[in-house]
């Protein structure tokens, strides 16, 4: 089981009179992930706090603040049970066969169709598609191709915090060959969609160190992101190109959507306030199964 504590702190230059926010901070209930406990705390005390589905089946929180405030703290905690990563190399079906125009989602699965088209931050890009085609050679088994693609992304692009912003379109990331986990995910998705596959953006967390506690993961102390690709009968397979991992029991899924713009962990606006500073801290730890029994 994994436990995450995610704090988002805004500090305003001046007092803000009102604030409105949306947050995608509750782990998604889905195959491979069971939510044991989740909580969300907002300071100052919000009004109208409520949650609903966001149209992709993710939990969307909404809240308002109607008093003068110069800081906003959003703190979420969650405990989830995760299943280990599947063995992708066992999927030997030629990848082209999964490029169906007739995906029928299994009940409970997010329908894949929507994720084969470009989205606000991921426009189609012929060069990225050509890059993806180097891994997806004709007739190659899907698992094999995906692992090669993921490995290639990890090797060919630089993980470089600060190189991009949350709104950097994928074409710019391609040009600069560098970015953060979100950019890696967008790149990967652009290539897969270009090949005719359904690929989604996954927002979440990764364990700060892998279970052996030897290799630090990138993005472990912040929100993390990766991608998922749809395989009929198997559902959504997730890979983390930033860390060259198949997603399993070291990751926690918050939300799945077309790209970052659909599911930022926290977004909002405030009246007044001037400029603001943002601090984010995330910690993810492994906890024993029985640690939560009582």
């Amino acid at each position: 089981m994994l436990r995450v504590h995610h704090r988002t702190r805004y500090r305003y230059q001046h007092s803000a009179s009102q604030g409105y926010n949306l947050a995608w901070l509750t782990p998604r209930a889905m195959p491979g992930q069971q939510c044991i406990e989740t909580s969300l705390r907002v300071e100052p005390l919000p009004r109208g706090l409520g949650s609903r589905s966001d149209g992709y089946g993710n939990t969307l929180h909404y809240f308002e603040i109607h008093k003068a405030h110069n800081r906003l703290n959003v703190s979420s905690e969650a405990t989830v049970r995760r299943w280990p990563a599947p063995d992708l190399s066992a999927i030997t079906t030629p990848w082209e066969q999964l490029r169906s125009a007739d995906w029928v989602a299994a009940p409970g699965d997010l329908p894949p169709r929507e994720f084969s088209y470009p989205s606000p931050l991921i426009d189609s890009h012929p060069e990225i598609t050509a890059y993806a085609a180097q891994s997806f050679t004709p007739g190659r088994g899907l698992g094999d191709a995906l692992l090669a693609y993921n490995r290639g992304l990890h090797a060919d692009f630089h993980y470089q915090p600060g190189a991009t912003s949350v709104e950097t379109p994928v074409a710019e990331v391609w040009e600069s060959r560098s970015g953060v986990c979100q950019d890696f995910a967008h790149l990967a998705i652009a290539g897969l969609r270009g090949l005719g596959l359904a690929a989604a953006y996954v927002s979440g967390y990764v364990l700060t160190r892998d279970p052996s506690d030897k290799i630090p993961n990138q993005g472990g102390d912040a929100s993390h992101a990766w991608y998922a690709v749809y395989v009929p009968a198997l559902g959504w397979l997730q890979l983390d190109p930033t860390n060259n991992l198949v997603v399993g029991d070291a990751h926690i899924v918050l939300a799945i959507a077309r790209d970052y713009s659909d599911v930022p962990p926290v977004k909002g606006l405030c009246y007044g306030g001037g400029t603001h500073k943002l601090e984010v801290s995330v910690s993810v730890e492994v906890i024993a199964e029985d640690a939560h029994e009582h």
């Binding site: 609903r52 149209g55 308002e64 909002g268």
Partner: protein, 840 residues
Amino acid sequence: MPLELTRPAATGTQLLPGYLPMAGAYDEMVDANGRVRPHWEAFASFLDERAPGALAAVQREALRRLKEQGVHYHVYDDPEGMRRPWQLDPLPLLLAETDWQPLEAGLAQRARLFSLLLQDLYGPQRMLREKLLPYELIYRHPEFLRLARNTAMSPLTLFASDMARGPDGQWWVLSDRAQGPSGAGYVLEARMITKRVLGASLSDYAIAPLAQFFSHFKRHLATLAPDASREPTIALLSSGIGNEVYFEHAYMAAQLGITLVQGDDLTVRQGKVYLKTVDDLRQVDVLIRRVDSSYCDPLALRAESMLGVPGLLQAQALGKVGMANPIGSGILECPALLPFLPGLAKALLGEELLLPNVATWWCGQPKELAHVLERLPALVIKRTDRAGGVVFADQLSKAALERLRATIRAEPWNYLGQERVSFSTAPTLAGGGGALEPRNLILRTFLAGNGEHYDVMPGGLTRVAPSTGTLLVSSQGGSWSKDTWVLRERGSMRDALRLHPAGQRRTAPAVLTSRAAENLFWSARYLERCEALLRLVRSYMGSLELYNDYGYQEDTQVLSQLLPLLRAYAPADTDTDAATHADTVWDYPQLNRLLLARELPGSLVSNLHRALDGAYTVRDLWPVDSWRALEEIEALVEYAEKNRSVVLLEQVLQRMLNAVLAFWGAAQESLALTQGGLWLHLGRRIERVHGMLSNTAAFCEQLPGGDDPARALEALLDANSCVVSHRRRYGSELSLATVWLHLLLEPTNPRSLLSQLEGFGNLLRYLNPTPLQGLSEAQRRLLGITTPLQLASVKDWNTAEECRERLAPLLRQLAEQLAQLGSNLEHRYFQHTQPFTQLG
């Protein structure tokens, strides 16, 4: 139509020899044999009896009325000004009831279909899963709003379709409007004006009335209210005076008796929508949405939108506000939906689609793409998101055609091709001169309903092409509008005349928004400033004429006394023109500039424009006569700006003053204090007092020692409308003492400063609902201004020196206190929404 074709024309001769229908087009009035269709006969004789001259007069009268009533349609990028008069052709389109009834049934079916489609697309998406609609069309369309998916999506309340009639007499649907269809208000206005200018002969026609449709509309709106236990508060959400059809927003709000609001008049609290009034927050139950979906909520949708309300989508999603039409309904306006409607009608309604669509091919499908590319020059090309308008492919050069082909091939899902339809024609006067010309027309029809049942407006808004033979009809492109008469059989009129259907639910009265109060207050202040300036200039010009005619030195003294007062209106003016002339006297060029230089802050026209802009923002509140007076002022401003001659200047000044006074008179008579009158009067009073304080102070500061200032004092009295009353009170006596007594302190002179302050105090009482708890802050501040004047004695201001050293500083100080009182009022009662910033 069978009726028309089988019945022989009554006269058998050619009526209207001057009217020649276009070859190949269906003419609404004249059939293929040149005979007038039966339902047009009476109207055709009416036209026939009138010489072109009389018809030209009818048209002029229609345009005059439109202007007078302030009916506008904005044309973007039109340097001629934001508010261009709407173009109405006074000859209606006539439709026989037999012709209309099948349309009614077909339109009602269409509205039900689109309403169900909306709920399916944002809900179960059965139409996508059953392949009746391609996924790609919906998922790649920018108006499919993900955050509205799986939320409470109410049915469509208002729906509109644009239709045209082909050469065989068959009506075709060209496109549909389901976000916030515009035009229904213009229909009302078109009906009113058309009936007025065509005159009494109309009693011969059984024209289906419109009123019932609007009461149906309001009834359907009321049923959207989430809480059925109280009278719903309904508001119309407008994007403001920059919108092309702002006139209609205001007109609809006034007609329906609801509140006109803009985004920052509203606030969402705990998922409910509230309206900011001067006193408190009032919950809004139903919104007529005239802001496009994606601009409605800067939190959940387009972050850069300044037109929306943060949290509005949440309110809709939780069902806490009724939205007509729901945020997200823009997807229904995608023109590529048309070819799928027959299948959708079968699946969603179990019915055959009654009204045919214009043939449409969505390029997102291979076969259709090939078809469009092959027949490109014969088609009309549109984008699925309706951006970029309509392309008539046959008008493109060969190179442009190839570029279009390449664009479509690169992004086929974004494009669709439509068959070019030959629209029917109707006689119009649009060409001017009273001659009848056939013009191609399209008809926008309107429906109001609840998802299951829709009421169709009998008739609609007919729009005709800007010139003969043009097919492009859009309001932006300069089309003319027409009223549309559905001519009922005699027997069916009784039902239609029952105005209010049984079971009409009462709705809460419209409320005054804080924004409206603020605009009234400032409009009044600017208008009062204009009035004071007009009087001052009139006084000044009187002396200037005397000086020019006789050259007496004492007239220059009067002029130099008044000059600082004039200068104070535009203190920032450093224009060399104004400065070259000796400091002591201004001549006509400088006056002209102070009055007519629009770019000069503080000039008469710039103040008038600010007053008019404010007034236009609260267009829905004005009684008819007040609005006419405003239009008169605007017309005079335009006239004066175009004709800058001295002689005209004098005439125009007086007429402007008259118009301003007519405005105040009408507003006083008919704008209730609770409906905004209070803020208008507060603004006028505070501005007048402020003007008197600063003008009198400037006058005192300028007083020279020694000379007898009698002539200048008289001019000051004149600028304050006090010459006659002073003379009646003091006879020929005129001194500093009598003038100060009369102008400042005399309680029996209604124009005196103290009387004005007293009037202001009376108004402030309305703002203090709990007088038992003592004076409000504004009242206390006012006391601080009134008391020193009440305690003052004119004996202290007997000489020019005393005036300069005692009176002037006192008046300046009081003016400063008054300005503080004003900002205190603004701060307390007007919602100054801070700008918001997105959190990154």
